[in-house]
Amino acid sequence: MLRRFKTDLHVHTCLSPCAEVRMSPARIVTWAKARGIDVLGITDHNSAENIPAALESARRLGLQVLPGMEVTSVEEVHIVALFDTGEAAEQLQQIVYAHLPGENDEETFGMQVVANADDEVLGFNQHLLIGATTLSVHAIVSEIKRLGGLAVAAHIDRPSFSLLGQLGFLPDDLPLDALEISSAVSYEDAMRRYEPTLPLLQVSDAHKEEDIGHSCTEFLMETVSIDEMKKALQGRDGRAILR
């Protein structure tokens, strides 16, 4: 049976140096639940190390977390990946780490906290997560696809780190599933401004508590899976995005 799922598919945890330290996976899931969100995409910069805690917290509270990552390409374009399993996100993480130079400087960029579902600090990630990988957008999207994930161009309405900002226009041979817009632009305005050839996703890109769920996309589908979400994005088999 088809039902509605309220999703926020781009949320950062305290692992992202630019996110608030109190954005622990357990707290994010709790806040999301209180705001009526059914599906949460956890997408830290170039790392998936808080995914296990987010998945466990979600299991305890009866909410769905999609393991993901926001990968920075060599062109400095942000691509969001979402997966069915933590293992797939971990595999992407291995590829990303192998192509991510540099070490974090906490004073300059912020802490990169790895936590567990009981809100305890497990450690601090040392990679330069704020930096760019040496992978092209095409290579990143192709790895996401190989791992069975959903590949989304992040916040296309922003001038920085977006596909349209960095590369001017959507390369026609890039097999993306969707384009994200931030809460700074309405769906109607984005449709007019970009005349997108791909479906739009409204996400919060939350880095702090109050932004979680600030911009959401409602899916009509049977269950929560990448396959069902692809169907909804393409409007197949009765699945749909509700505007």
């Binding site: 957008v137 900002g165 960095q166 590369l167 001017g168 226009f169 390369p171």
Partner: protein
């Protein structure tokens, strides 16, 4: 100053195979954000960038730029090079930074 003279005077590498023409270089534009280049570069400009994504070709064509100078020793990959040849977009290169090559191009064009 013609493209040919600029390439010689700055010691630029020529990646593409179509040859360097005698068109007049109208100026330069230095930026890695393609959206900005699309908005602000002027026809006949030499575009100085480290961006090697294939979209640079479409932008250069769209804006009718004299050519692209890749900086810091960056080179286009084979696919991009093939496309540049097909679409007749001149791709040049230098080991120098964007700052240095921009300065040298500016001085050269000011004098001419």
């Amino acid at each position: 100053m013609t493209l040919k003279e600029v390439v010689e005077r700055l010691g630029l590498r020529v990646f593409t195979s179509q040859g360097v023409g005698d068109v007049v270089v109208t100026g330069g534009y230095t930026c890695d954000l393609l959206s900005d280049v699309m908005g602000n570069a002027v026809a006949g400009n030499l575009w100085i960038t480290m961006q090697t994504h294939q979209n640079v070709l479409a932008v250069a064509k769209l804006k009718d730029l004299a050519g692209i100078i890749l900086v810091c020793g960056r080179e286009p990959d084979q696919d991009v090079l093939r496309k540049a040849d097909d679409e007749d977009v001149l791709m040049l290169g230098t080991d120098e930074s964007a700052f240095r090559i921009s300065g040298r191009l500016f001085a050269l064009l000011e004098k001419s």
